[in-house]
């Protein structure tokens, strides 16, 4: 898995909405014709996709939270972001308008 540029700032697309599911009480992302039911890790990642934090900062925060090394967790975060990107749910800001 190739890692994204460390200064990329992932932001959840304006077409997607993060909210709590009324039925299960769990976090979901709604987008046109679709829904992602998030597990706790997915929720932690998506919550950091605000366009503020860089990929590097996201990884650092998640590593601290789950008490594992940044090196270990970064491919997983990259993989998850890639899945969001493939569904067109991510705007990535790194100076160039990549993925949008």
């Amino acid at each position: 898995m190739q890692l994204p540029p460390s200064d990329m700032r992932p932001k959840l697309s304006s077409r997607a909405r993060l909210q709590t599911d009324k039925v299960t009480g769990k976090p979901i992302v709604l987008y046109p014709e679709g829904v992602l039911m998030l597990n706790p890790t997915g929720h932690a990642i998506v919550s950091l996709c605000t366009g503020e934090a860089t990929f590097e900062q996201m990884v650092a925060k998640l590593a601290a939270r789950y008490k594992i090394s940044a090196q270990e967790i970064s491919p997983q975060v990259a993989e998850y972001l890639n899945r969001l990107r493939e569904r067109n749910l991510l705007e990535t800001r790194d100076g160039s308008e990549n993925g949008k």
């Binding site: 304006s14 077409r15 979901i28 709604l30 987008y31 046109p32 014709e33 829904v35 067109n88 993925g99």
Partner: protein
Amino acid sequence: MNRTAPRPFSLLAEVTHRCPLHCPYCSNPLQLAPSRGELATEDWKRVLVQAAELGVLHVGFSGGEPLQRPDLAQLVAAAREAGLYSNLITSSLGLSRQRLEELKRAGLDSIQISFQSDEAALADRIAGVSAHEKKLQAARLVREFDFPLTINAVLHRGNIGRLEQIISLAESLGAERLELANTQYYGWAFKNRGALLPSREEIERAVEIAGAAKKRLLGKMELLFVVPDYYSDRPKPCMNGWGQKHITVNPIGEVLPCPTAHEIPSLRFDNVREKSLAWIWRESEAFNRFRGTEWMPDPCRSCEFREVDFGGCRCQAALITGDAAVTDPACQFSPQREVLTRFVESSQDGRTEFSDGGRELVFRQNAGG
């Protein structure tokens, strides 16, 4: 009775059957609802709240043309308040700047605009009215207001040769999603199917073009290609199973397991004016008739695909065979598959083209008052 009904995920709110377009492939029923019978604002608001309580996450405001209802923004606001993700499914005729402002304020999430083709002359011939230029303007306005834009193009004999150009149009308009939907033959489309059905070669070419575009556009524009089941070996998993995920409420308040369920003459539909949506979803005869696998005859009953395609489409079984409770004739295992095959062949023998003026087509007309 079915106490263990699953959770529904989407509601199609057909708020009116009135429409400024006359597309000959419309899937609305031939008997359109007159405007005087339409649900009132308060009825729709109640339906939206009840849908969200049942677990529904998505609402599509459709029709007919939903913009024909002046209270649309109120309905969108009610959907937003209930936590629903809302999509406006529109021809875009009537989608002015003022209406867009209203809908943005109300919390509308996304907009889907239909296009009949990529260029005005053909598109307007299909729509039966001059609409294409207005659609281009509306699509640009939608992007200006930063709504996610889906383009929907219904494919048939008259426009399937323009597929590459239609994809380019969607890209140039900044669409985030493109639905290339081969005509599904219900309602007006069924009436016109002999003049609408493309050839197998045309379909195969379209599958190639759509497949290549999907790869090329990954992460930029989501592309959905709805296959035409008249040419398929396997039936479509219609609605992901009857009464499993989807609810349609029509303009007069009847609740249907699928938008075209009126094609099944023996079904009676309960109405939101009289019953709660939860009761209708869980208990009504219409939702339970084909729910699960108990209703299935052979070859479905013993088929390894029964939980994959759920016996296909009930409406299609009814339309083609006269019996809604048999295997979808689009299935290669259906004893009636040859009925469909014979129709496909006859539709291509001495076929008429749209360039002949579409003289065989019956264009959709609205109901009176």
